[in-house]
């Protein structure tokens, strides 16, 4: 009897492991099979600028550019702000308040992205439109600002962990040399915490690239490169906003659909490589929640 339950038990844990490990392979396979048509029929012309499905022009470069620009801008706002705030919470704030700050940051990090999208539609796009007197406030810059606010709690809390985890002895040794607080932080603590902070930045990068809802609502959805390419106060398009807007419109099995799948797989490959590189930076195998 006992040997029998033992076998059933082992069968159960083995099969559940197979299911959870096979899932990612299945997703990648499905994406690849469906983007095969695009690779065969459109080929290298996928990496051109013009997007016009009725005309059979399937250039995805402006979407990729949009994704990279939005991500880069959002990180260049959120990372400096996040690191300075984390220095404050970990080094300057008295430690009895730390638990409150940490718990509220974790709660803030859990706000669903669609709600950021709503806030972006109701406030940020209006403000940015008025501030720069634009026709429409739905621009690449709006999406970047919104994303930077969205990833800020995550960056603060992970950087705070990174700084907090630096062993006490380094602080004490540096203080013992008569260094001021800023010298302790800049020359002793931040260099030690650097690997974990880099990991955090890479994770934030992956999250920004993969974010759909908040971006989709405020970016304006125009499939063009901005003119000139550094003008971020114009509507744009990212890979995710494109997928979110057009998947339902493109007929399943068509070339249009297949090109969309190709964009999806490019996105997945970029995000997954970032995630894996990031994981190597963290000493503990921390899962990005």
């Amino acid at each position: 009897m006992s040997a029998y339950t033992s076998k059933i038990g082992k069968g159960y844990v083995l099969s559940s492991t197979l299911i959870s490990t096979a899932m990612i392979l299945l997703i990648l396979a499905v994406l690849f099979v469906n983007s095969y048509g695009a690779i065969i029929e459109v080929g290298w012309k996928l990496f051109t600028l013009k997007w016009n499905p009725p005309d059979a022009r399937f250039g995805i470069l402006s979407m990729l550019y949009g994704s990279l620009v939005v991500t880069f801008l959002s990180l260049s706002i959120a990372v400096p702000v996040g690191v300075f705030t984390a220095v404050f919470t970990a080094e300057i704030l008295p430690s009895k308040y730390r638990i409150y700050v940490k718990s509220s940051l974790e709660l803030l990090a859990g706000i669903p992205s669609i709600i950021y999208g709503l806030i972006g539609v109701a406030f940020f796009s209006v403000w940015i439109g008025e501030l720069f007197s634009l026709q429409s406030g739905r621009t690449i810059f709006t999406a970047a600002v919104l994303l930077s606010i969205m990833i800020l709690p995550t960056i603060i809390t992970l950087c705070d962990d990174a700084i907090h985890n630096v062993p006490r002895k380094y602080r004490e040794a540096a203080r013992g040399l008569g260094l001021y607080k800023y010298e302790v932080i800049l020359s002793s603590i931040l260099p030690i915490a650097k690997t974990d902070i880099t990991g955090t930045v890479l994770l934030a990068l992956g999250r920004s690239l993969g974010e759909t809802m908040a971006v989709m609502l405020v970016i304006g959805s125009i499939d063009k490169m901005p003119q000139p390419f550094y003008n971020f106060l114009v509507p744009g398009q990212t890979v995710t906003s494109k997928l979110g807007r057009e998947i339902a419109e493109s007929a399943f099995g068509s070339l249009h659909f297949s090109v969309m799948m190709f964009m999806g797989i490019v996105l997945v490959i970029i995000v997954l490589s970032l995630t894996f590189v990031a994981q190597r930076y963290f000493k503990t195998g921390r899962l990005y929640e």
Binding site: I19, S20, L31, V81, L108, P112, L118, I247, G285, L287
Partner: protein
């Protein structure tokens, strides 16, 4: 060594003033980010509270959501999250047990970690597309809430596996050894020693995962939800309406003030649900820590 070297601030400022300046920047940046985050919460709570009343929570939506309440949206979200939990929990718990108790090969151990945690890195919209192709078109299920629940379940499996695995791994080896010495076989050790600890870890993971899954829009918007006119699903293969997709539909009519008001109300309800899950996760985590330290 780092910033001070590049800027050479020492040349024109003494160290005491640089220190003050640095602390001032830290304070300033913290105040800015705190105000931004407080602004977010205030906007949601303030605007949401004006829209919410008992009527809003208990009536069905009319006129594409611009009128009426969100009763069926709440039901739909709860259905989705319950389904996702029921599907993901046993699979994730089994995976965690197999990884910690059976899988001794180092290579397979690492491979399985990469595969499971890699799943966590996949952008949420990709899950939606995968569900659309694989379930809706390939398996021909049609747009149904069951597919939505399955996709959300796949999304949160890695979170639960990690939480369960960590708590199982924190069981001291001597517990297992003592149980084996008492004559229990491997599966009995799992049932009596590993499982109790594993389940509480998995519950923490499930709550964290549920907090994330209930707010997700992108995975379910193509495959599980219809925007309006849907009430209680009569079977497993019918669409529902859910809170996040309802906000999406309303946000697209942001010029209509009544629709916007309802969107804020829906957001507040959604955030309260998310917070209920994450606060319970915080509590189970604290409780769990005290158990394993005993």
């Amino acid at each position: 060594m780092l910033l001070s070297d590049i800027l050479k601030l020492e040349d024109f400022m003494n160290r005491k003033w640089i220190n003050k300046f640095f602390l001032l920047i830290c304070w300033f940046v913290t105040v800015v980010s705190a105000l931004t985050l407080i602004f977010l919460l205030t906007v949601i709570v303030f605007n949401g509270a004006q829209a919410i009343n008992l009527d809003f929570l208990l009536t069905r939506s009319r006129d594409f959501g611009a009128e009426g309440g969100i009763f069926y949206q709440i039901i739909g979200s709860i259905l989705l999250i319950t389904g996702a939990s029921l599907i993901s929990f046993p699979i994730a718990l089994g995976t965690a047990i197999f990884k910690s108790e059976y899988l001794k090969n180092n290579f397979l151990q690492r491979l399985s970690s990469i595969l499971v945690y890699g799943l966590n890195g996949i952008p949420s919209i990709i899950f939606g597309i995968f569900g659309l192709i694989f379930f809706v078109h390939f398996l021909e299920t049609g747009i149904s809430w069951l597919v939505g629940a399955v996709i959300l379940a796949i999304m949160i499996i890695p979170t639960i596996v990690l939480a369960a695995y960590q708590s199982i791994n924190s069981i001291p080896k001597i517990y297992r050894d003592s149980a084996l010495a008492l004559g229990l076989n491997r599966w009995q050790v799992i049932l009596k020693v590993v499982l109790p600890q594993g389940i509480s870890g998995a519950i923490t993971g499930l709550l964290i995962g549920a907090a994330r899954a209930i707010g997700e829009t992108a995975p379910i918007m193509f495959i599980a939800t219809a925007f309006s006119g849907v009430e209680m699903p009569g079977s497993l293969f019918e669409p529902v309406t859910a809170l996040p997709t309802h906000i999406l539909a309303l946000a697209q009519h942001a010029t209509d003030s009544q629709a916007l008001k309802n969107a804020w109300g829906t957001s507040l309800v959604l955030i309260i649900l998310v917070f209920v899950f994450s606060v319970s996760a915080l509590f189970t985590r604290i409780k769990l820590r005290s158990v394993s330290q005993r």
